[in-house]
């Protein structure tokens, strides 16, 4: 296929206008000895029907979506109202550029402004940016921001932060003079406050904690905030399952200074891990150190309301090496989908969605934990994920479930060696009672 729009005649006319006779002459500014003299070694071009066929065939080599799945761990299956797909697939949303020219980008800019407002409302923070790449790098940006603000050498991470988020934070700070320390979890699966009290001191730029945490446990953020504040460390709350914001006390109301998280639950399909949506919010006082684009309200020459990208003196295109972050392209279209999702679900829908997640996950947990040989690993309160310990060994259970069409959960041992035979399970509003009952029945069967 070719997407060129020039006719033979056009090409001739244009070559003549430029004053040359062949396309090759256009490249005479590249030294001859390094110009490619052969065709690239690529498969022959596919026509549209062949292309669709190619991807349908390769898609058949994926089979995970035909299983009844209880996988979560940073990627969540939630219902996506049809209007999200319908509206977000409009060419006017998919194919525009970054809204640097506000007069012809009011649609994108107003969407960002509404998105920022929604994130502020959900997190109860004062300011939100226009998006970052995904949850893990958003958490890393939050750590860098805290380090710029406080300038102290240490960062305290909860051990129950998503392991991938931890790794990304490590990667981002590895060449800077930042030292990372981890805080253990308690028996109930929450941040161990004694361990935190013992480790926190005046050398901390930030305390980073995820809620619901990687084990699915909802943290008591107020108490952690209190300790952080006492030692002048910034309190960063990471939210990997954003649907929880519909019902749980907002991080802002618990004393968070910066909130960073993953917005995939807001209308983005699983998509094998991306594109997702990094979101970030902070207190107004920190705005000058905030990374990423921000939309703001202003007026046009006739006094009418309009929106623009603003505070760009923080950004790389103005400040170059002094910018607060190197981010340029973000996840605008994903933020658009989140905006449509959130506005469609609305005040009641968000609460109801979160409520159903809690009820269904607890129903599953309660019935699973009744099976002989199955233990609820942590006693803390949950949102839609929980950890089970299988006496007879998780691999055995996992295998059996899989043979019966179920992906039972994520084995935790690779990330937490001490959690041998433990698995992380996720139950959302997408699971019917029958699905949960089936899991309970089959797990009971294999462990009998």
């Amino acid at each position: 296929m070719s997407y060129i729009s020039l006719s033979h005649e056009d090409k001739q006319k244009m070559l003549a206008a430029v004053g040359i006779s062949s396309l090759e002459e256009l490249f005479c500014c590249i030294p001859d000895e390094i110009r490619l003299k052969r065709n690239l070694n690529l498969p022959p071009p596919l026509a549209e029907p062949e292309l669709v066929h190619y991807f349908e065939e390769i898609g058949k080599k994926n089979d995970d979506s035909s299983y009844l799945s209880f996988l979560g761990a940073g990627a969540y299956r939630h219902f996506i109202p049809y209007v999200v797909d319908y509206l977000s697939s409009r060419g006017e949303f998919i194919s525009p550029y970054t809204p640097y020219q506000p007069e012809v980008s009011q649609g994108t800019l107003q969407v960002i402004f509404e998105y920022q407002t929604l994130i502020c409302q959900l997190t109860e923070m004062e300011t939100a940016n226009a998006s970052l790449y995904e949850g893990a790098s958003a958490a890393a940006e939050a750590v860098l921001m805290a380090h710029r603000l406080r300038g102290k050498p240490k960062i305290l991470l909860a051990k129950t932060l998503h392991p991938q988020y931890k790794s990304v934070i490590q990667t981002y700070v590895q060449n800077l003079s930042v030292e990372i320390e981890e805080v253990n979890y308690s028996k109930s699966g929450e941040v161990d406050l004694d361990d935190l009290t013992g480790k926190i001191d005046g050398e901390m730029s930030a305390v980073v904690c995820q809620s619901p945490n990687f084990m699915g446990i909802v943290e008591n953020l107020d108490r952690i905030a209190e300790l952080a504040r006492k030692h002048q460390a910034l309190f960063i709350v990471v939210v990997a399952e954003a649907a929880s914001l519909g019902i749980l006390k907002a991080p802002g109301a618990c004393g968070a200074d910066i909130v960073a998280g993953e917005g995939q639950s807001f209308g983005l399909p699983l998509s094998f891990g991306g594109p997702y949506l990094g979101f970030m919010a902070c207190k107004k006082d920190f705005i000058r150190q905030f990374p990423g684009r921000i939309a703001g309200e202003t007026k046009d020459a006739e006094g009418k309301r309009g929106f623009v990208l603003t505070l760009s003196t923080r950004e790389q295109h103005i400040r170059r090496e002094k910018a607060t972050s190197n981010i340029c392209t973000n996840q605008a279209w994903c933020a658009l989908r989140a905006t449509i999702f959130l506005e469609t679900l609305g005040r009641e829908g968000m609460r109801e969605l979160a409520h159903q997640n809690i009820q269904k996950a607890n129903y599953a947990l309660e019935n699973l934990a009744r099976i002989k040989g199955v233990k609820r690993r942590f006693g803390g309160p949950i949102f839609n994920e929980f950890v089970l310990e299988i006496d007879a060994g998780w691999p055995k259970a996992e295998d059996f479930l899989r043979k019966n069409g179920i992906l039972g959960g994520l084995s935790l041992e690779p990330f937490f060696p001490e959690l041998k035979n433990c698995a992380l399970l996720c139950v959302t509003e997408m699971h019917k009672k029958d699905d949960i009952d089936k899991l309970v029945r089959l797990l009971g069967e294999v462990l009998r």
């Binding site: 430029v18 761990a73 006017e92 194919s95 409302q121 060449n175």
Partner: protein, 483 residues
């Protein structure tokens, strides 16, 4: 057109646009006990479905986009986004695939990632690729981290990264985030890197030279082999920002000219849609000796199929959750597969022809600071028009009245009053001619009726917006709920 209110301004209690199925498990108050709960989401909207649909449909109509409008944006490569690529990225087998699923159940996904890496190696002449970076800037950061890790392993990571004064702002910023000190290299009278200057600045403290080739003026670094020699001679590495790869696909392989690390922008060269500012993808390619440092996990083909290898002791680590902006990778792969070798080469040829046609047609009307031959883009300036008090921003905004998107403005920094134009290969001669005609008319207006140009746009939904007061008194969210 009527201005669309904010959704919050049409919200009212009792309206809703979505209903969940009734809860089918027993509801227990005890499940909420012990949880810190919120009373409400203060200010959150409550609207009906038709209100949502009209709201976003109207907002969409307030946008220019590539489906409706020519975007001559320099270095942004706003080309047509083929629709079938959207279709294949929406196949359920990809859309509903969970990133934590067992590897043997996602062999199709892994094959896609591996194929894409192989194709990008062939296109660039580099020897290994990571698809993880979510955008060009993250690609740059990863590239810098790879260089840091590689040099550190060989004894010393060094302190400085050299960057030409014509470079995109992300370059110095990415180097800085990686912990490097940035030193600028002045461009010569051709707008390219000055070899003598480079030789002076290229010391043993320098980790890398970051170049864009062709550079942001559209000029190819003719002395690229000598540049590579100077950098390598001091034990440094050559990084290429591949933002302008559209000028080179199928014509030239960066790996052949001494480039050690490159990032590509799939949302530029490989046609994945910009989405109003992302998602993009910024894969990074490296020479063999840097491959051990690539981010984890790395896709490999093993005896029983594809696997993610996490066991890479020299790796810089993870740079994101999961694996990549996967759907973006699918779209770019679809693009490569549908064009093939001939089609990819045609991209560069026609992009450069279109650009040179624009340059030739406008270079007598708009000042061209650098006269060197250009490839896929060229940078005019407002020098002639400034004599009449008309600046580049005025020209840009006036183009809106002619139904065209403005070019990139005030960049690169080495051209005062820059108007940077990149037409891409997908534009027709008719559309190029409309742009040329509009630019010529505006040049005339600048002389005869400068006020019309200076107060543009006149025909847009909103008039020129006050960006200064937006920054001075930031209003960054709707505050109506605060009274």
């Amino acid at each position: 057109m009527i201005r669309e209110p904010l959704i919050f301004e049409i919200s009212a209690p009792g309206k809703r646009a979505f209903l969940l199925p009734k809860l089918d498990v027993p509801e227990k108050k005890a499940n909420l006990a012990g949880l810190p709960l919120r009373e409400d989401i203060e200010g959150f909207p409550q609207v009906s479905e038709i209100e949502v649909v009209r709201h976003f449909t109207r907002l969409s109509q307030a946008n220019f986009c590539i489906d409706t409008t020519f975007y001559p944006l320099g270095s942004c490569t706003m080309k047509y986004n083929p629709k079938v690529n959207e279709k294949v990225a929406q196949l359920e087998k990809f859309l509903f695939s969970h990133p934590q699923a067992p590897q043997d159940l996602v062999q199709g996904n892994l094959e896609i990632l591996k194929s894409m890496e192989d194709f990008l190696c062939e296109i660039t002449g580099l020897e290994a690729f990571t698809l993880q970076p979510s955008a060009g800037a993250q690609g740059e950061l990863v590239g810098m981290m790879l260089i840091h890790a590689y040099l550190k392993d060989r004894g010393h990571p060094r302190e400085v990264v050299l960057i030409p004064d014509s470079a995109h702002g992300t370059n110095p910023s990415s180097a800085h985030v990686c912990g490097y000190r940035v030193q600028e290299i002045k461009s010569n009278e051709r707008g390219t890197i000055d070899l003598a200057g480079l030789s002076r600045q290229m010391t043993e403290d320098v980790a890398a030279l970051m170049i864009t080739n062709p550079n942001t003026l559209g000029v190819f670094e003719f002395d690229i082999l000598k540049i590579a020699e100077i950098v390598h001679g001091q034990g440094g590495l050559l990084y290429m920002d591949g933002a302008n790869m559209n000028a080179l696909v199928g014509k030239f392989k960066p790996g052949d000219m001494g480039v050690d690390v490159i990032h590509l922008n799939l949302h530029k060269t490989f046609s994945t849609p910009h989405g109003g500012g992302g998602p993009g993808a910024g894969p990074v390619g490296v020479k063999k000796q840097l491959a051990p440092y690539l981010p984890i996990p790395v896709v490999e083909k093993g005896p029983s199929g594809y696997v993610f290898n996490h066991d890479r002791p020299k790796s810089i680590g993870r740079v994101r959750s999961f694996y990549a902006n996967f759907l973006v990778i699918i779209k770019a792969l679809a693009y490569i597969l549908s064009l093939g070798a001939e089609g990819l080469k045609e991209i560069a040829e026609i992009a450069v022809l279109n650009s040179n046609y624009l340059r030739k047609s406008l270079e007598t009307v708009y000042h061209l600071k650098y006269s060197a031959p250009t490839l896929h883009e060229c940078v005019f300036s407002d020098k002639f028009q400034k004599e009449h008090g008309v600046q580049n921003i005025d020209i840009a905004k006036r183009l809106i009245d002619y139904g065209l998107h403005p070019p990139t403005m005030s960049f690169p920094l080495i051209v005062p009053g820059a108007l940077m134009v990149e037409p891409t290969e997908t534009e027709s001669k008719r559309d190029l001619d409309l742009f040329i005609e509009a630019m010529k008319k505006i040049a005339l207006e600048a002389v005869k009726t400068p006020e019309v140009v200076k107060s543009a746009p006149h025909a847009s939904l909103v008039r020129r917006l006050d960006e200064t007061s937006a920054a001075r008194n930031p209003v960054l969210r709707w505050e109506g709920d605060k009274g």
